[in-house]
């Protein structure tokens, strides 16, 4: 599955547009790490546990999106965008969406 956030795939031809596909996930970290993050809010610096959390959820969102695209019979997703929001303290939502297309050489 080719994933791209531009409207074309260089060197390939788009033969069919299959419409919008999306994948989202909501994740929270356990309380212990939340407390550590609270301490970090005093000292500053990177919150690596949250960075990991968001990395994982982003990958999950992309994989859900590509599953949906594969179910439609697409072999690429173009024009992918991300959107994130904090829905509660310590939990975050990531949404990935794009256009499923069929490409040919």
């Amino acid at each position: 599955m080719l994933i791209s956030n531009i409207e074309i795939i260089p060197n390939k031809k788009i033969v069919q547009h299959l419409g919008l596909v999306q994948g989202s996930t909501v994740r929270a970290k356990h309380a212990g790490k939340d407390i550590m993050a609270g301490f970090k809010n005093i000292f500053g610096g990177e919150l690596s546990s949250y960075t990991e959390l968001l990395q994982e959820s982003r990958e999950e969102a992309i994989s859900r999106m590509s599953q949906q695209a594969a179910a439609l019979g697409a072999n690429a997703v173009i024009n992918v965008r991300f959107s994130t929001s904090a829905i509660a303290a310590g939990a975050s939502e990531i949404l990935a969406y794009g256009t499923a297309v069929v490409i040919e050489d």
Binding site: L2, I3, S4, N5, I6, E7, I8, I9, P10, N11, A37, G38, K40, N41, I42, F43, G44, G45, E46, L47, S48, Y50, T51, L54, Q55, R58, V80, R81, F82, S83, T84, S85, A86, A89, G90, S92
Partner: protein, 154 residues
């Protein structure tokens, strides 16, 4: 007595935030500048289409994200600043660090794939709030774009 204790806690937190926050920021900026020099070969553009000489390349999406936390000193300074208005330099540097770090991580991923350039860079910034009503908790920055990888002729 109680007031004195609270004041003591406040000043301690302020001091800790100032010392550790400044040190963390200085160290972070140092590594950012170092890695930016190292990654200069990977061109990052926010154009939607690849430049003509890179049109024959393969493409794939690359991302980089980072969560940076504020320190207590920054929160207090920003709180005071919001009384009088004006530039919030304490938060400006935080966002600047977050964005540059996210780009660097994205460039690192692109480099591991052997890419020459990253086009159509987009940013997504969001806030992860700490305790409710305590101002800015920490910020998350996500940078993503399409990496162009040269095709090795068979």
């Amino acid at each position: 007595m109680d007031v004195l204790f609270q004041l003591g806690v406040f000043i301690t937190l302020l001091f800790l935030g100032y010392v550790f926050g400044r040190r963390a920021e200085a160290r972070h900026y140092k590594t950012i500048r170092m890695r930016e020099r190292a990654f200069r070969k990977i061109v990052v553009l926010n154009e939607r289409f690849p430049p003509p000489h890179l049109c024959q390349h393969q493409s794939t999406m690359v991302c980089g994200n980072v969560v940076v936390s504020v320190d207590y000193f920054k929160v207090v300074v920003a709180g005071l600043r919001s009384l009088v208005g004006g530039r919030m330099t304490s938060y400006e540097s935080l966002l600047d660090r977050g964005r540059r770090e996210a780009i660097l991580r994205m460039q690192n991923e692109a480099k591991n794939l052997g890419a020459e350039a990253v086009i159509n860079l987009k940013f997504e910034t969001s806030q992860i709030s700490g305790q409710a009503g305590q101002g800015l908790g920490s910020i998350e920055v996500l940078a993503y774009g399409t990496a162009l990888i040269p095709v090795i002729p068979e």
